[in-house]
Symmetry: C2
Subunit: 209 residues, 2 copies
């Protein structure tokens, strides 16, 4: 199942065609964004303190299911949405509106990618210029989404024996430490390429200027 989660970052870029073909979860103000685009969220989740009463009424009228959370809580609204995604048979989870606002929010969302990569949930953070995902160790053939630059960062520990094939700057058995920025701005002319590594978690970012 394709799942699209729409978070509340301001001026979120949306791929409406992809969203319409997905099970759609609107998170807090993100649910309002959906309603304003004429899309009824399958689920609206949040404490909804970022919307006015009349905006909340719109969400309530449009959402097929409403999950109202308390204001003071341990989990973020996006975390709750991802836990819902875990209960579905999700093969592809995209989060819109999670980048481009406060940088601490963007970093928290990247850490959520890491948390859920450990649980086997494949998530992509998407905006107009960036696609971010976290890979677990193993061999991966990656389909290129058409953004020119490809960057890699080690998360949580060193990524060992990193090998990159069919990229402009190939790499063999590289040890990518967490403060190493040598793997940024790679490029490819192929529609897919290969990434493999033995241990650690790899943040992969496609981007354009």
């Amino acid at each position: 199942m394709k799942i699209a989660i729409i978070s509340g970052a301001p001026n979120a870029w949306l791929d409406l065609e992809h969203i319409k073909a997905s099970f759609v979860i609107g998170v807090d103000r993100g649910a309002l964004t959906l309603v304003e685009h004429g899309i009824c969220p399958d689920i609206a989740i949040g404490d909804f303190d970022s919307v006015t009463e009349s905006e909340f009424a719109k969400i309530k009228d449009s959402a097929l299911e409403l999950v109202q959370l308390p204001s003071e809580k341990d989990e973020t609204d996006t975390e709750v949405a991802l836990n819902v995604a875990m209960t579905k048979e999700a093969t592809d989870v995209r989060i819109y509106g999670s980048l481009g606002g406060r940088i601490d929010h963007s970093l928290a969302n990247i850490r959520l990618l890491l948390q859920f990569a450990k649980k086997g949930l494949p998530i992509t953070l998407v905006d107009e210029r960036n696609h971010l995902m976290v890979l677990a160790s193993g061999q991966h053939e990656i389909n290129h989404p058409g953004l020119p630059y490809i960057s890699f960062f080690a998360l949580e520990s060193t990524v060992t024996n990193l090998t990159l094939n069919r990229l402009k700057y190939p790499l063999t058995n590289y040890e990518l430490t967490q403060d190493d920025i040598r793997c940024i701005s790679n490029e490819t002319t192929e529609s897919s390429f290969f990434v493999s590594f033995d241990s650690g978690y790899l943040l992969m970012i496609f981007s354009r200027d």
Copy 2:
């Protein structure tokens, strides 16, 4: 010595008063930004392939010193600028124009903060909405820059025995792992607060919506 480094992210926000009181390093297109604000860089560093010939001529005319780097190189231009800062007696290094462009560039700059925190160089990434810095283990009294939210993330390993005082949500002897997002959006009404921890590196982010 105060050092201000101006990187090349588009529409960089600048604190001109702070920059004028600092030793100023313009990195690539950031050197042009300075010239356009009527500030002569003390040093201009870069491969300058992001500027036109006539823009490069302007930089060359204005900069007190010019360091022209090759296009294909192992270090990023910002890294070279920070190595220059290491050779000065820097007590306060601020980097402008390093956030808000491509997210892989922002993340690379956060990893540079980590690299240079290990070398004892105190760096802050600054834009209009965010101040980012990395703290090494120990006790710190932090002067609040006046942005309402304060978030903390562990970098490279677990931050052990994290204690926060004089913040809205104080914390005692907390183990902050690298995928933990519990320490975001703290607040304070004080002009300073206390942070201490025993091991690891702590990314501290001040921000506003």
